[in-house]
Point group: D2
Chain length 142, copies 4
């Protein structure tokens, strides 16, 4: 079902860097350890950190804030999104790494663009997939 | 990436029926229109309806309640889960149909059993997949 | 705005005990540390543990599972609910304590019964309030 | 428990207007009908629309995106927040109205500033409260 991974472009690597720069700048223990970077079809980049909360269930993912920020500035057409995670206190020495969107984010990303591409890490190697490949048999579509 | 669908058993069809019976019995406009049925490895079946809410974001999926009910009775090993949706008022004449788990439920189901199987509908045909096939490159595992 | 706390009954203390017994029995590190007990107007008690998840945002609160379990058995009229939390590994020696419902649960509890009562702890003292007192100016009602 | 409402300032009325302007501009049926405006202590205003989703449970509230956008630009000190709701297709002729934060947002708002103020509507009259008054006996604080 999942198609072949798509090739990464120079812009994709800049997008990953934008996400890394964001979490490097705003990382805060128990508050923000994930950041996302979203590139619109018009070429703009929106970055955001996630919001950790006392009650985990009400936390807000970085991807969601990046998408919401873009839409709140009139940008609705999304090309590619990526998220990265800062090591926590117990992971000292480790590097910022690329993370996959959680299942809830996959719903959101695909609702706001079935062709949006996602950059993720497959055993340390960067890969890019269309969101629909990451949420096969989506609820409401079968 | 996604493997071949698994064959459905007689027990699987009984599980689908248990979910349908539950929503037939407890369907309530704007409150409960989805039901789930979960079979544990010990062969017990737990059924539940979902809880719609005034603020959609705090709604609780049927799969989550079925899993939670099972665990709250000491059952931790899950074999197969399925969810069904009752037609709403505008869909009169339509039948109860099988629905895929949403992305949030896929996270939950796989957290509580990476080999749990999910029954879903592929263009009207029943199929069964391992949950990991429905959430490729899960967050935290790459 | 918040009214006077209501007096606790013998049944309320049994309800607290049912929640404590549930988490004593099913506590599991990083999986289940909160339990809830719900008493219906017909006098039945439904207990449940919460479901922690890898992605916090998809976790399911114990109150939600208790309510969902009750409704999935045809019980819709709720009298009183309470939740308790088991100490985690760093809190050794501490006791199971009563916790307030989170904001998301307050939405859910009040959607399924505006007069449902909640037992909580005020500086170590048990108190009971109507849910509407714990979510003043509820969304959609002003 | 809830204290007296606080007096509204000229800046508060401008904040309400900023939220109304945002939803007037970006309202989209079944996608965005709520907007929020957040004023930081430094006097900046961040606006956002909410993100409705196919699966309600994964929707993202406008308040959360406004807070996330601010933090993602380095602003962490919040003064006041307000949300407004655009009438839907069945409510033609009605005006944009102020809405209270849902319970999940109250958790988030108070986690990111226990003294943040919220503007809401009490029977059509604008009122302003400290967030802690809107989430009495917050989870984790008793």
């Amino acid at each position: 079902m999942i198609k072949k991974a798509l090739p990464l472009t120079v812009e994709d690597k800049q997008l990953v860097q934008a996400a890394k720069d964001t979490i490097s700048k705003y990382y805060k223990h128990k508050k923000h350890h994930v950041a996302a970077a979203l590139r619109t079809k018009s070429g703009k980049i929106f970055v955001a950190v996630h919001l950790e909360t006392n009650v985990g269930r009400v936390a807000i993912c970085a991807e969601a804030i990046a998408i919401g920020s873009a839409i709140s500035e009139g940008e609705n057409e999304f090309d590619t999104i990526v998220a990265v995670k800062h090591p926590n206190l117990r992971e000292k020495g480790k590097e910022i790494r690329i993370v996959s969107p959680c299942g809830a984010c996959r719903e959101l990303i695909s609702d706001y663009g079935t062709n949006t591409k996602v950059i993720l890490s497959d055993d340390g190697k960067l890969k890019k997939y269309v969101i629909s490949d990451l949420l096969p048999y989506k609820f409401g579509q079968t």
